[in-house]
């Protein structure tokens, strides 16, 4: 039996060598690649073999050495294109070890061993039996990660920590099959996998259906924290929810398999700080998993939205705005010299605020005699005069049935019953949120500066909107929208694996994210914003353009905390016959290297001839 087997992955591409050879040959024949020299007395030189009197002669002209070098280089390049490989025999196919990295791998009773520890011992035993076998390590978290290239055995323990909120074993198996064709799989987990196991797959599970109490969900709003605590054991659990700072304890008793929602009040002193909620089970033996007993929640940014109203609005419009903004804790007037969060303007103009509300149909003051010498007023104090409404509004008003066209934060919970909305017949730019008949009433878009623009097509003099619940709800949604458009992360708390949108300060090109384990990662931004999925649960520190933010990432999964499905399971792969397994090793690099050497020799040969004269 041969020790090696040579082949090409794309052998059909080898046919490319034929036209390559023909083209090169034609080049030589047409251009007479031999060096031409004019001599004064050719009779002094050797006469080529052949009879001059034999009529038309067919001369066999052997190409020069450079021809063969060029041909060989081209053939090698063609062969490299066809992906050459050499198969070397191995006693066994490579082994891809899939490490379940979910939190449940850490479950154990006091003094016992976790599935992760038992699995590590099993892996070491297996590998000791096959010292020459190549191994790939794949950590199966929410997304599988290949941590070795199988050329050398590396230590897997630094990567396998059991910290992921979930594990996708199917994706990990798919990755293993792609990375090492013909490999056998070894899955180490804590329960029988839900995926179908192939005959060449060994599965080892050392889990146990242990009792566990856990926090399975958490949310923080202004001043309150909503906690979902669950008891996955078969016995009642007496536990306490401890809120830090302040060590506020709330005693709870969870019945077996019960999930309960508990609302905790955040102390005023911690309103702007991160708080930690910890579930302390009185019976440690009924709480096999510790990592799901604690959650850190960052303070949501619910500071009032600073706003500024253009001075050109008429008193009626101004009154409608004052009615909804004054006294609203979600809003406050912008201080003098402060860049507001929200600019309320009558037309599309440049503004430094990240959110612009353009009220296009609002009544306006009479234009000044010389507009150039009277720029738009922005000082609210000047708007207290009671000018009469503009009766010369050129846009005719219309009203029609109201409908939400695109759902967004702005449209959340908007009451439309008995609402009279008079609009001008103008089209609004951007995406329509609310439509009145055929006319867009509210629309939104992001401008070239990545600022949010909201367009309001409303004539308050012919609407009952200022006396309708729509008006305050809309502005509450507007405040929420403005908060999400502030620079920094859109959310202060999220589940691991969820997408986090971050808006960067002006001029910033990237975002630095420091993970809970202290490792730092640089994330490039596009158009002043970026999205990424923080996987590791804990507090992430974000920095960009001088701004610093914290984001609490929760790794809470009820299905991970519920260990009732965990159990020991063992499937051995089909018995491995000691038979040669052909391992394909790519050889294109060797072909390319050889081609480069030939071309270098070709260059040297031509240089020695002083260049080619055709």
């Amino acid at each position: 039996m041969n020790d090696f087997f040579f082949g090409f992955e794309h052998s059909l591409l080898l046919w490319c060598a034929l036209p390559v050879f023909l083209v090169l040959l034609l080049l030589y024949l047409l251009h007479r690649r031999s060096k031409v020299r004019i001599v004064s007395a050719i009779f002094l030189w050797d006469r080529p073999q052949g009879s001059p009197n034999s009529g038309t002669r067919i001369r066999l002209r052997f190409p020069p050495a450079v021809f063969y070098l060029e041909l060989a280089a081209l053939l090698l390049l063609t062969a490299a294109l066809a992906a050459p490989f050499v198969s070397t025999p191995e006693t066994f196919p490579p082994l891809a070890v899939i490490l379940d990295d979910s939190m449940s791998m850490q479950a154990k009773v006091p003094g016992g061993r976790s599935p992760l520890e038992s699995g590590a011992d099993f892996i070491k035993r297996e590998l000791r039996a096959l010292p020459d076998r190549r191994v790939l390590w794949i950590v199966a978290g929410e997304t599988p990660t290949l941590t070795s290239d199988s050329n050398a055995r590396t230590d897997f323990t630094p990567f396998w920590t059991g910290q992921a909120a979930s594990s996708d074993l199917a994706a990990a198996a798919s990755l293993a099959r792609r990375m090492a064709r013909g490999c056998h799989l070894l899955i180490v987990t804590d329960r029988k996998p839900a995926i179908e196991l192939a005959p060449d797959t060994t599965c080892f599970s050392a889990g146990a259906p242990l009792g566990n109490s856990a926090i399975v969900n958490a949310r923080r709003t202004s001043g309150r924290i909503l906690i979902e605590a669950a008891n996955f054991s078969t016995l009642p659990a007496d536990a306490a929810l401890v809120l830090e700072p302040g060590s506020l304890r709330t005693q709870i008793r969870l019945e077996p398999k019960e999930t309960r929602r508990i609302v905790l009040a955040v102390p005023a002193a911690a309103a702007r700080e991160a708080v930690t909620v910890r579930l302390e089970n009185a019976d440690a033996s009924a709480n096999a998993l510790l990592c799901d007993d604690e959650v850190v929640l960052e303070a949501e940014d619910d500071s009032p939205v600073s706003y500024r109203i253009a001075g050109t609005f008429h008193a009626d419009a101004r009154s409608a705005l004052d009615r909804v903004l004054n006294g609203n804790p979600s809003f406050r007037p912008a201080l003098t010299g402060e860049t507001p969060d929200l600019d309320i303007l009558p037309a599309e103009v440049e503004s430094p605020a990240p959110v612009h509300l353009f009220w296009l149909s609002a009544p306006m003051k009479k234009p000044a005699a010389n507009p150039a010498s009277n720029p738009p007023q922005t000082d609210q104090a000047e708007n207290s005069e009671a000018n009469p409404p503009q009766s010369e509004d050129p846009a005719p008003s219309a009203a029609g049935p109201l409908s939400i066209e695109n759902a967004s934060i702005l449209s959340r919970g908007l009451p439309l019953d008995s609402l009279q909305w008079a609009v001008s017949a103008n089209e609004l730019p951007g995406q329509t949120i609310l439509r009145s008949g055929d006319v867009p009433a509210i629309s939104t878009r992001q401008n070239l500066n990545h600022d949010r623009e909201i367009f309001l097509n409303l004539d308050p003099t012919r609407s009952n909107i200022t006396h309708h619940p729509f008006w305050p709800v809309f502005f509450q949604n507007l405040a929420q929208t403005v908060r999400t458009e502030r620079f920094g992360p859109a959310r202060a708390n999220l589940q691991s694996g969820e997408l986090l949108h971050v808006r960067l300060p002006r001029g910033a090109q990237s975002l630095t994210a420091v993970r809970p384990d202290g490792k730092s990662m640089e994330i490039q931004a596009m158009r002043g914003q970026t999205d990424f999925r923080p996987a590791l649960h804990g507090v992430w520190r974000l920095e960009s353009g001088g701004g610093k933010w914290s984001v609490g990432v929760m790794g809470l999964r009820a299905e991970e905390s519920d260990l009732s499905d965990a159990g020991s399971f063992r499937q051995d792969a089909d018995k491995l016959a000691v038979m040669p397994f052909w391992m394909l090793r790519p050889l294109a690099w060797a072909f390319l290297l050889l081609a480069a050497l030939l071309l270098a020799a070709h260059h040297v040969l031509l240089a020695g001839k002083g260049g080619r004269q055709c």
Binding site: R33, S34, S40, A41, L44, D46, R47, P48, A65
Partner: protein, 292 residues
């Protein structure tokens, strides 16, 4: 490098100017010592009288017809009447315009430089001068003593003078000096052209100009040789053996011409084009006694 097909004096102006600078104050050496007045030169060697020179005593063997019997009647001494042989102070310079003379720019420039040197030296010596352009037919240049004004055809003639002796028919000066600047690189019998060159000349010189690449060709694993005049092609591998055989044939060729030249009293002077282009080193011409 090959010279352009349509060569003309502007192309070789720099070569001619260097030749003129080198030929300043140089004179052409006559075949025998001559002296004369007003540009006429007579040789010391007596011969068939053209002009009375002097008397000398009769020596046995002298032609009795040259005894001046009137002197004998007066002095009873046998005196021989001597006449000076008149040597024409004339020179013909023949420049070969065959294509083989321009296989390299250096060779063509060297040939033109040599012709200019000879023409200038002849003019410096007071010789009557003709410059012939051997380009298939012989054509006399209207300004032989002014090389910068020469009007000559390009080096495109498909045969050398030796290949067509019948064309070698210029109206040369009788009893003058004839200098043929060529490469003698033809496969033909040298006898006719050398005979024609020597016939009626007091001195005949064939200057054989060869390019260094013709004297020492380079090795080349793949070369297409094309004859400049016949267009014949030969694709060869110029290895050590091929070059050795070339050298052997070249030496044989030069020996054949040397033998033929010697038998006809023609001075064959082989020169390297490298000595005349781009720098001019005419030492060989002085050593050969052509210039002084």
């Amino acid at each position: 490098m090959t010279a352009p097909a349509a060569t003309a004096i502007p192309y070789f102006r720099s070569a001619v100017e260097r030749a003129l600078a080198a030929a300043g104050g140089v004179e052409l050496t006559a075949p025998a010592q001559v002296s004369g007045i007003d540009g006429r030169r007579t040789g010391r060697r007596t011969g068939n009288a053209l002009e009375f020179s002097e008397y000398r005593e009769y020596r046995p063997g002298d032609d009795l017809r040259r005894i001046d019997w009137r002197v004998y009647a007066r002095s009873e001494q046998l005196m021989i009447k001597q006449y000076s042989e008149e040597i024409d102070p004339r020179c013909d310079v023949i420049l070969d315009h065959s294509a083989s003379m321009a296989v390299t720019e250096r060779k063509a420039s060297a040939a033109i430089s040599l012709a200019a040197i000879f023409a200038t030296a002849a003019a410096n010596s007071g010789f009557s001068l003709n410059l012939w352009h051997a380009a298939g037919t012989f054509r006399k240049d209207p300004s032989p003593a002014s090389p910068l004004l020469w009007d000559f055809p390009p080096f495109e003639t498909p045969f050398s003078p030796s290949a067509n002796p019948a064309s070698f028919s210029g109206q040369f000066f009788r009893r003058g000096i004839r200098i043929l600047v060529t490469d003698l690189m033809g496969p033909d019998d040298p006898a006719p052209v050398l005979s024609r060159l020597a016939d009626g000349a007091k001195r005949a010189v064939a200057v054989m100009v060869l390019d260094p690449l013709e004297l020492e060709p380079e090795l080349d694993p793949n070369v297409m040789l094309i004859d400049a005049e016949t267009g014949e092609e030969r694709e060869l591998v110029l290895d050590e053996g091929a070059l050795a055989r070339y050298h052997e044939r070249l030496e044989h060729h030069r020996a054949m011409w040397a033998t033929a030249a010697a038998s006809r009293g023609v001075l064959l002077l082989p020169l390297s084009a490298a000595d005349f282009y781009p720098e001019i080193r005419p030492d060989e011409l002085f050593h050969a006694g052509l210039l002084k």
